[in-house]
Symmetry: C2
Subunit: 419 residues, 2 copies
């Protein structure tokens, strides 16, 4: 900083174990009770009590900081959590006490007020990392399914105006670093060092505070939508439909026809409603992982490369074009994805509405039985999305239809830009 | 780190000006040409050449780092940008050379290959922060507008199957810190210090590198959708419709009926198509600012507090409930929002499809004329969203209808949960 911009007071650039006051409350990941596990303290109103790296709200922590800088937010504000507790009780389930089954969610994140009531009385600022509420949702595709007779309103799960009543949960990422490193097949120290270095130097505490094992990364979270009775989700004696969906703003919101994302999501919701009406339940999990977690700028660059490459937009080059631009085909790391299913107490999925072999493998390897996989109906594949489906099926995605031959994959099926 | 986790090599916790090698290429924000402005170098393949704080892809940088840690991505990979250049030329416009008009976007972010061709030849790893492509989008609401006769396909902007042809751009945040501080009414040094401290210690370079004035924050970006001829967007002699829309996943994707987000977005797209068909153009900008940039966990906590409070869910308590939980009503900071409109060369908006007085003020104060504001049609307000609309209109949002009286605002109009 130049002299005119001199900071007003001493700024500590990073902390070190034992460098200030008594050690914070320990977190014993996987302990047999919430009290023994200990609270996640990521708030900034009492820095000495923090026992994690990073802070709450994922990437929105940056906006919160701007609010303090602009004077709009008092940095010492503590949430008034009156009336905010979950509308529905989820868990606890055995996986909540298993250090290996869940490594990227705080299973007690929705019930902190209850689980750590004593600490609140002692003035600890412990914040929820999960919020559970109810909603009525209305999607045109579900109304169309009712009009076509594929779905019939029952007045409870599916109302007369084709509205669905759901329980939903928003979940922030809470990473137990030793467990995350194991999932990714690297050492914890490598994970810490590379997370620090390959983000351009974010959070030196990743390398200076080996004693802090939990990290609240500044990334998007996930949202769970539950259809039907909540108790049915974890009851393996009734049918369960599940779709684990990765965000695709261009399709999910705007209906771009280059991929199958929204149509498949809508089909997943239709399956969820149907399964709930049959006495089971349905679960959609929406993960904030735009463009295979490479982001939308990379995604659009890849679209251009696909459309312009010699030979046209075709399945055999589908993954290669992403790898040219990004150096990797996909960074969604489905290894962490099943955590949310274990948080919900799921042990068996009757209808998995996904063709992804990567997702299927991650779910099965995490100990959840998958009875049947449901592919996207052919009539829902948008005009420009056949390249994607062919490429994915050829690479190992599930189908009960035909796997395209190599010659077929070389045929350009995607639209060319008028350029 | 404990001894068993000893890092493999020396880790530099933060850098200081001049602490290593020659100074990086300067960035002269607002300079009269791209060459004089200089490139944004946020890549990590050649750390000595970096001239910004942070790295590319917003919050997805964390996933990229995990990809390196897991061995899936070579950290030295440089993008092969063959065939990825913009499908359509946007700009340059005078605002691109104005240090005050644009402070949160790199206006040259889509044309780095061309603007810094010499530096590429010298081996610099300069990455695009903007990508421009084309898409065909299909929304059920637009098909419904065609069926109802409100829109008529013209075969070009709106095709026979109710598909729209759009140009779209994904934009990463690039913050010129002195300019951002001015927008927020604080000093640059306070902004830097508070961004560091209130994120839990993210990026010590914010405080140690006063010489680096540009920051690539790990937050979501924005996406522009353009309807009609691109040249018409900046041509003030033809009509322009604009909606600046802040993400709301629960409504935009799932159709939750507690707010007006997706219906208003769909109405905005309808206005964009109609205006383009009249010889003008339409622009939708989609900002990743979930839950007023407080995130979805806070949003769901607030929903519960609204539904359960004594007296029921009513307009007079709409903003208060958010403030109780978050300490602030809104952290979207519309002060930065108009940057994207200036990047597009917009000087006049004929139809602003937004009722927000905060957005309107930010746009007008940035020097763009707004001719008319378009409110959401009453018939598009979902069943449970009247509380939101009443509260916003009472607080100063635009309407050409009735402003609710205080007594009206005290009446519970929101659904109660069955709890």
């Amino acid at each position: 900083m130049t002299s005119k911009k001199a900071p007003k007071r001493h700024i500590k650039l990073t902390s070190h174990p034992g460098s200030h006051g008594p050690p914070p409350l320990p977190i014993r990941w996987g302990a047999p009770s919430a009290a023994e596990r200990g609270p996640i303290i990521g708030s900034l109103t009492d820095p000495e009590r923090r026992n994690v790296i990073g802070t709450h709200s994922g990437s929105y922590a940056v906006y919160r900081a701007v609010a303090v800088a602009s004077g709009a937010l008092d940095p010492d504000h503590r949430p008034d959590l009156t009336d905010t507790s979950p509308t529905d009780i989820i868990g606890p389930y055995p996986a909540w006490y298993d250090a290996e089954r869940i490594v990227s969610i705080d299973p007690f994140g929705a019930v902190v007020h209850e689980a750590f009531a004593d600490l609140y009385r002692d003035g600890y600022d412990i914040r929820p990392t999960i919020a559970i509420t109810k909603a009525h949702i209305h999607m045109p595709e579900i109304a169309a399914a009712v009009a076509a007779g594929r779905l019939v309103p029952d007045g409870k799960i599916l109302r007369d105006r084709s509205d669905c009543v759901v329980t939903k949960a928003a979940i922030e990422p809470v990473w137990y670093l030793p467990g995350v490193a194991t999932r990714f097949g690297c050492s914890e120290s490598d994970l810490r060092r590379i997370l620090f270095e390959q983000t351009g130097g974010m959070f030196p505490e990743l390398v200076t505070r080996g004693d802090l094992e939990v990290f609240l990364p500044p990334i998007g979270g996930k949202t769970v939508y539950i259809f039907g009775e909540l108790d049915h989700v974890s009851d393996s004696s009734v049918p369960l439909a599940v779709r684990v969906h990765d965000e695709c703003n261009g399709s999910d919101v705007f209906g771009s026809d280059i991929c199958t994302c929204r149509p498949y999501l809508a089909h997943g919701i239709e399956e969820c409603i149907r399964t709930a009406q049959q006495g089971g339940a349905g679960v959609i999990v929406y993960f904030r992982k735009e463009g295979r977690a490479l982001g939308e700028v990379t995604k659009f660059l890849v679209y251009n490369a696909r459309k312009r490459q010699e030979g046209g937009d075709r399945a055999e080059q589908y993954f290669a074009r992403t790898e040219c631009v990004a150096g990797v085909q996909d960074v969604r790391f489905q290894e962490l994805m099943p955590d949310v299913l274990h948080w919900l107490g799921i042990t068996k999925i009757d209808r998995l509405v996904s063709m992804s072999n990567v997702k299927h493998t991650a779910i099965v390897n995490s100990g959840i039985e998958v009875v049947e996989r449901v592919r996207i109906p052919d009539e829902l594949v948008p005009p420009d999305a056949q390249v994607e489906i062919d490429a994915k099926v050829a690479s190992g995605y599930y189908t009960d239809g035909t796997v395209p031959e190599p010659g077929e994959l070389a045929v350009a099926k995607g639209r060319e830009y008028d350029i």
